[in-house]
Symmetry: C2
């Protein structure tokens, strides 16, 4: 069911295979996206409407979701789901509130002042996929940090269904989390509209949220014109365990990652071959009752694996090489190993912190760097919705004290007018 | 000399013109860059050497700058310049040390622990342009925050001169700031080598530093494979002043920005037409003695302007629309206007805080968002050289308390195996 790798060479080959999951972008898709963007830039709403008709099969009047639609969503949402969303919001807010940073100032004895100002972005766009991948939890994870950062205008876009409607749970999650306005538009046309603005859809400063290949490419093309969150690839989990870990839990967690996508990767690293085989047996057993059985099988076959190593230290080194989106440390005293983890989006410690707890309820963000990019990218956070400005205030005396040094460097760089800007102040009669 | 704009319509036209300074990338340049990247990926050092011979006109043996070359640079650097660099380093470190953030943990009464871990990037690449634009100050600004963040391996790349040497000031600045290794390679080939690694040049996690159009495009193409700092455009200053500001200072500061580049933009916003004309006279007077006269004239003609408005409030609103890289507030009580500034890379307060002070000595970073991107990008900082990981530790009881809510949402999203991962723990006999 899931392959076990024991020797160094085969482990290395497996890691290579994992990294190659996301192939280079297709030229055709890129050209299609560039074409959509230039049409939306040139023609605005008219072009957005055309693409919605073409790709989503619906000709829309007003693209904006009305107050009435939102009221109806609240009438139709199940009580259970609404209550669960509210609990999730409380926990996500609790964690993300701790990320809020303050502007600071440094006041020097000579009268100099300098510091760093934190300013929320003014307008943010949140892309929410439609269709079978309608995830209200992702709405919460993208919107709440923006709201807590102080973003005034949070614009959500999501593709309409064939009848022009939007999933009830998505609408309720958006409203509860604090979205300001919602437009029924998806795909590259939605990204273009947010990046450049149209008659009805506002231009934003940053676009966040996952999407299909067209959405991802459009975000990349518009990067620089607007900011974007990250380049997302297929999802993955790495579990490091000792021989005391519960094979039922391990099997369940590997499969919960695998069910996302045939490209998802689920990896267990352990010192125990016996445990590896128990996990394999558990997968076969539990799989029978799972509705997304086919995806799980395909994903485990393509990119799943159990890697056998000699020590826990080696296991964590290997995990640092993988730099997984999700890392579970199913070991005794997991906190004592936290310092060894160098590359991982989100870390789940112990037997009772399974990844789905983090997906929905624990509080930390579930928008995480994928496909090895935890080497340099971070989980989505309040930091992603602010920008910084630095500032200085110098006195005449303080400037004079540094003037020689500044003029030396300006001269060394051949920037004569830079020196002049200091000179006119020093020579000032 | 510098044009004065008084009515709303012509001000708007000027702002439009400013924003269009950086044209869309040329297709040809992009294709050339893509070709270079794929050759360096495939052939490594051999290809890097070929491109260095082709573009820099030198066939190199060892690409790595030797200890001996660095020693010689220290023997040959002028005492003045070395002392000025050391003073700059002290001030830049003083400011950036205040940006260092701590990992945090939140420990809950029920035994739950969660938090956010700050981890320095392991390897960072710093691109330093060669030729006439050899700026040791930029070396300091790119390297110091990386060093303070805790980055162990800082790899600098810079194109060699025709005789295979590197500017002495650049080498001394690099060594003083804490660069680990230096390679004589520039252009898109340098970016490709850092992104993918070659036999002799290490693969890094992030690439920072300015460069020409080929360097900028290569960074954009490699984004996602590595992280990059930002998409840089032509430089600019906006000065907001009241009628008490000194026209000599204003003229000098506008020209110190203009001397960078014919695409640079220098804008003064004031309530006083009389002052505007004095500034124009001062520009004509001071310009005669400046060595980069031609560039300054071209830049002021193309993208320079004095905008007359009715109030200081209006002036700052206009500046927020421009979102300038550098903003000088040459007004009385400038700190009391700091709260009104929404979009600016670095803010210079009062008569004695000219922009060149910030370029070299004050302490805040001079790598700043350009061309309106201060709407969403920030100055380079220690934050750019760390990544975050979140972590959670839950107890069995704490997980059980949330299990129903998690299963409700997993079911709503059709993610059956996610629910299963909770179920196996709750049902655990």
């Amino acid at each position: 069911m899931i392959k076990i790798y024991e020797d160094e060479r085969s482990i290395e080959q497996f890691l290579d295979l994992m990294k190659k999951r996301s192939e280079d972008d297709s030229k055709e898709a890129l050209e299609a996206v560039e074409n959509i963007i230039s049409l939306v830039r040139a023609e605005g709403d008219a072009s957005v409407r055309d693409f919605t008709e073409k790709f989503d099969g619906i000709s829309l009047g007003d693209m904006k979701v009305s107050e009435k639609e939102i009221e109806e969503a609240f009438e139709n949402v199940s009580t259970d789901i609404k209550a669960a969303l509210e609990k999730a919001i409380a926990n996500i807010e609790y964690f993300h509130r701790k990320q809020i940073r303050q502007s600071w100032i440094s006041t020097e004895e000579n009268g100099v002042m300098m510091g760093q100002k934190i300013i929320p972005l003014e307008k943010v766009g949140v892309y929410v996929p439609g269709g079978s991948a309608a995830y209200p939890s992702s709405v919460l994870m993208n919107v709440i940090p923006a709201k807590l950062a102080g973003v005034k205008n949070i614009v959500m876009v999501t593709p309409p269904r064939k009848d022009g409607s939007i999933d009830v749970n998505i609408l309720v999650a958006a409203k509860l989390a604090g979205v300001s306005e919602i437009y029924k538009v998806g795909g590259a046309q939605a990204i273009a509209a947010l990046a450049y603005g149209t008659e009805s859809i506002p231009k934003v400063d940053k676009i966040v949220g996952p999407g299909n290949i067209y959405v991802a490419l459009a975000k990349r093309v518009c990067y620089g014109k607007v900011d974007i969150d990250m380049i997302a690839g297929p999802s993955e989990i790495t579990i490091v365990c000792d021989d005391k870990a519960n094979p039922r839990f391990l099997a369940a967690d590997l499969m919960s990652q695998a069910e996302h996508d045939k490209l998802a990767s689920s990896v267990l690293i352990t010192t125990s071959k016996a445990l590896a085989e128990q996990v394999n047996d558990e997968i076969i057993k539990q799989l029978q009752n799972l509705s997304r059985k086919d995806i799980i099988e395909a994903s485990l076959k393509n990119y799943g694996g159990i890697l056998i190593v000699n020590s826990l230290g080696e296991a964590i080194d290997l995990s640092n090489t993988i730099a997984p989106e999700h890392l579970e440390l199913m070991i005794e005293n997991p906190l004592s190993y936290l310092g060894k983890v160098k590359n991982a989006g989100s870390i789940f410690l112990g037997q009772y912190s399974p990844e789905p707890l983090g997906d929905y309820m624990a509080g930390p963000n579930h928008v995480l760097p994928t496909n090895g990019t935890a080497r340099f990218f971070s989980p989505l956070s309040v930091d992603d919705f602010i920008k910084k400005s630095s500032y200085i205030y110098y006195t005449e005396d303080a400037l004079k004290a540094l003037s020689e040094s500044i003029m030396v460097l300006a001269k060394a760089e051949g920037l004569d007018a830079h020196g002049n800007s200091i000179r006119v102040r020093v020579d000032n009669e």
